[in-house]
Symmetry: C2
Subunit: 158 residues, 2 copies
DNA sequence: TATGCACCCTGTAGCTGCTACAGGGTCAAG
DNA sequence: CTTGACCCTGTAGCAGCTACAGGGTGCATA
């Protein structure tokens, strides 16, 4: 590849991305289609490198691909206010905080269960017991009085 | 459905699971194939309800389907020690703790970035700036001195 | 000149854990 | 006899990649 063009492999190495992922981002509309060489190789330039770096950094910070697409679009409108950018970033932060709270709750529940294990036989295992339906923890079902469908919260996404 | 059999809908309601998910668990080998009625309907019994409750509880605690399969298998060997169960549970707890740590780090980084936003134009937006490659934050690339592929840590799974 | 090797291309399938159809069959009530 | 709620199978979709298969390109070396 000549002096100011980068092959897909160069770009991938420079951003610690897999080659397949770079192609995936192109298909997904996150990275513009680059020029091609005579041999049909992708030929990237500095702007692609900058854009892919931006994408990677945003991904590292946990933004979804949709959010990254939005951020890229907004980042291009240099004279607009950054209110929308702020909304995306704050929304994502709120999501991260929510996940931390969920995981903390989960972690303490798990820790409690694990802490009770007496290292005996499976029959007396408190972990299995904690997972099994008990008198107080049994799903409501005496085969005649089933509960109605409930719209419960979606469960924690790990 | 007769007096001590449950239809898939009954089972789903009793465990707050979608019908499709129950069938999925069967295909995935988590739930044994039940008997069928004359009309080819699945006919579940109390043991299926107990097992599905176990699965749901384990899933709520964030165990993977593979882990749940293992737990179910181990839970069946009542006279063995629960050492393997303990290993799975502790391993999962360690994973949850790791994710919490990752998310806390991520959250504080995000909070710092968001806190710097001056609500001006995109051109001066500190959020975009934080995402962009900078002098100190640029991917190593002067087009002649590219870094070698590095085996970095996998990024945080949100 | 041949050949080997590293790299590139496209296209497709796989991963997790569901969820959502489409296009049909079953069954009890009215 | 129709309506409606349920059930069946099979397949495709979501995110965000990752991993081939089956080929082509480009450069160094024997």
């Amino acid at each position: 590849m000549d002096h100011d063009n980068l092959s897909i492999g160069d770009l991938a190495r420079a951003t610690e991305t897999k080659v397949e992922t770079v192609r995936y981002y192109e298909r997904a509309g996150l990275l513009p289609e680059p020029e091609r060489t005579a041999g049909n190789y992708r030929a990237y330039r500095a702007e692609h490198l900058a854009q892919l770096s931006f994408i990677r950094r945003a991904r590292d910070l946990g933004f979804s691909l949709d959010q990254v697409r939005e951020l890229l679009r907004l980042a291009d409108q240099k004279d607009q206010t950054c209110a929308e950018i702020d909304v995306i970033a704050r929304g994502h932060l709120a999501e991260v905080d929510r996940k931390i709270a969920d995981l903390l709750a989960l972690g303490s529940e798990l820790r409690q269960i694990v802490g009770q294990c007496g290292h005996g036989t499976v029959a007396e295992c408190r972990i299995i017991e904690a997972l099994s339906p008990t008198e107080t923890n049994r799903p409501t079902c005496n085969f005649t009085d089933l509960p109605k469908p409930s719209t419960s919260q979606p469960r924690v996404k790990l």
